[in-house]
């Protein structure tokens, strides 16, 4: 499947592949048709995390170039993945390894942004302790950092191209991209049809580290916040036999992670290490609105909690032939029981 290399002008005309696991069928529509693929009383849950400018380029004291992609704040600094020479234009797996750093080494990103390696136990994964904090750290990060991006994108991405329409706190180091096509006009249409939209905040992490062994361990533990009003909305939806549709795999991870870690869907903040795949039985989420995920991608494993591998593979093959575009600026997919019975514009 071809990658979308840049955001498109009219999000409502982006394509939507719907997959109905109950009827074992799929078909083509557009993102603007999403409201007609859902029912009154259904609930969409989005991830409202804004995206950090998490990529920083710096130099070691020996003058060696290093790129740090921040992953998450930790007790003593920021967990980060390091890359060697080059930048996003080179595929992560083709990037040379970073210079070997040990605890106490310094990386200078800018005159007002320097970090000391606090921990370097796993090769390219380190903990960076920045020498400034609070207002001065955030101002410097936003001044010098850039969004993490990959080689299939066309040009340097400005920060505004990686934010959703409702982004709030900057927890994500990559765009929670499933929500990218949700414009306010679409959210307004959904609400007018009695389809509510709720939110969680989930720190979407890196999707690639440049190291196959590390990649196999993704996704890493990610922090989430589930607001009390979202729990109320979900409970009301379930009581009325509506369906809870997660916008993106991060929302599945947050909601199902709470249930697994705390025994029930309760509001609050936490960190989840839940990994979802075939055989996982979701207790909160009925369906998923997400990007088009390649059968070789780790997200594809998660999709198999919602539909069988054969159906997903057939739908993916169809989407490839039909010219759908992949990755974060690409087309979308709705996996939901009984969506084929809704008033869609096309059928398989």
């Amino acid at each position: 499947m071809n990658a979308a290399t840049w955001p498109r002008e009219d999000k409502s005309r982006e394509r939507l592949l719907w997959i109905d696991p109950a009827a074992a069928t799929f078909g083509d529509a557009h993102v603007g048709d999403l409201p007609s693929r859902l029912r009154r009383g259904d609930l969409l849950v989005v991830n409202d995390a804004a995206v950090l400018p998490a990529s920083l380029v710096g130099e070691t004291d020996e003058g060696r170039r290093v790129e740090a992609r921040l992953v998450a704040p930790e007790k003593h600094g920021w967990k980060a993945v390091l890359f060697g020479a080059g930048d996003w234009r080179t595929r992560t797996e083709d990037r040379p390894p970073p210079p070997a750093l040990v605890s106490g080494d310094r990386v200078t990103f800018a005159s007002n942004l320097t970090a000391i390696v606090a921990r370097a136990s796993e090769g390219r994964v380190v903990t960076l302790r920045f020498t400034n904090e609070g207002d001065s750290f955030w101002s410097a990060l936003y001044q010098h950092g850039r969004p993490v991006q990959y080689a299939y994108t066309r040009a340097p991405l400005p920060l505004f191209h990686v934010q959703s329409a409702y982004a709030a706190e900057p927890w994500a180091v990559e765009m929670p991209s499933a929500g990218r096509p949700l414009t306010f006009a679409l959210i307004r249409d959904l609400r007018r049809r009695g389809i509510n939209v709720a939110r969680v905040t989930h720190a979407a992490g890196l999707s690639s580290t440049g190291d196959a062994a590390l990649d196999a361990t993704l996704p890493w533990p990610e922090r989430y916040r589930v607001p009390a009003e979202t729990v109320s909305d979900i409970e009301a939806t379930q009581r009325a036999r509506g369906r809870v549709v997660a916008v993106g795999t991060t929302v599945v991870r947050a909601l199902e992670g709470v249930v697994r870690d705390r025994g029930a869907l309760v509001p609050g903040d936490g960190v989840t290490s839940l990994r979802i795949g075939p055989g996982f039985v979701p207790r909160v989420v009925s369906g998923l609105f997400t990007g088009i995920h390649d059968p070789s991608a780790s997200h594809f494993m998660l999709l198999q909690a919602f539909a069988g591998r054969d159906l997903l593979t057939q739908a993916y093959d169809h989407a490839s032939l039909a010219g759908y575009a992949g990755h974060e600026f690409g087309d979308s997919c709705l996996i939901l029981r009984d969506t084929s019975a809704s008033r869609g514009l096309a059928a398989a």
Binding site: A50, D135, S139, Y142, Y166
Partner: protein, 238 residues
């Protein structure tokens, strides 16, 4: 709206009404992000507010610069969480001494519109979306009587403020159903550097003090059930 505990962002916070609004919001328990173009002017103010027990943070950014939009919005949300109250106070007169329209450079008009209209639009666009999703939030436009009166030589500033008032009304028409409130406040003439630039030699005794005006603006935000794009004129306090 409840100020205590709210996350507030004030642009043009280095001096004048913006500084006074920041102090007042922090005094009432707001967690305030002060936005201005220079850390050197913001930092002493942040320290002063923190020293008196308030919470304040400095974010450097020029609202007229498109690339600063998400820098301001992102850094603010990192420091205080999702913003509940956005106060568009930053403003420029354009060239001073003020000049007739026939002598106003086209580029100068564009620059004034960038600071007074387009910049606030961008910042609202970056922040009001999260308010609409949450179903609550307030955006305040600090305006001027020049938005409605046609004073000679105030052309660039005046048209920018007229459009700014209407921008608040349209935002409100679109987002009131989602629970986001917009309000324009004309604070009246104040004893500020901006006033001195516009009308050198004015009798300062006749001008409002920014601290007094800020108290009234914040009381208005806190207490009055407004927010559908109304234009509120603060008369001189008796």
């Amino acid at each position: 709206m409840r100020i205590d505990g709210s996350a507030a962002l004030v642009t043009g916070a280095s001096r004048g009404l913006g500084a006074a609004l920041s102090r007042e919001l922090a005094r009432r328990g707001g967690r305030v992000v002060l936005v201005g173009r220079s850390i050197d002017t913001l930092e002493p103010l942040v320290q002063e507010i923190c020293a008196s027990g308030g919470e304040a943070h400095a974010v450097v950014g020029n609202v007229a610069d498109k690339s600063a939009t998400h820098v301001i919005a992102g850094a603010a949300a990192a420091l205080v969480g999702a913003v509940h109250l956005l106060v568009h106070n930053a403003s420029t007169l354009g060239h001073v001494p003020l000049r007739p329209l026939l002598d106003t450079d086209c580029e100068e008009l564009s620059r004034v519109l960038d600071v007074n209209l387009v910049g606030p639009f961008r910042l609202s666009k970056a922040i009001a979306g999260s308010m609409a999703l949450r179903g609550r939030g307030m955006v305040v436009h600090i305006t001027s009587d020049a938005a409605v009166e046609a004073y000679p030589e105030w052309g660039a500033y005046s048209v920018s403020k007229a459009a700014f008032d209407h921008l608040a009304r349209i935002w409100a028409a679109e987002l009131a159903p989602a629970g986001v409130r917009f309000l324009s406040v004309d604070p009246g003439e104040m004893d500020t550097q901006m006033h001195a630039d516009a009308i050198p030699g004015a009798d300062r005794a006749t001008l409002g003090r920014p601290a007094d005006v800020a108290r009234r603006v914040v009381s208005l935000i806190a207490g009055v059930p407004l927010g559908r794009g109304e234009r509120v004129v603060l008369g001189r306090a008796s």
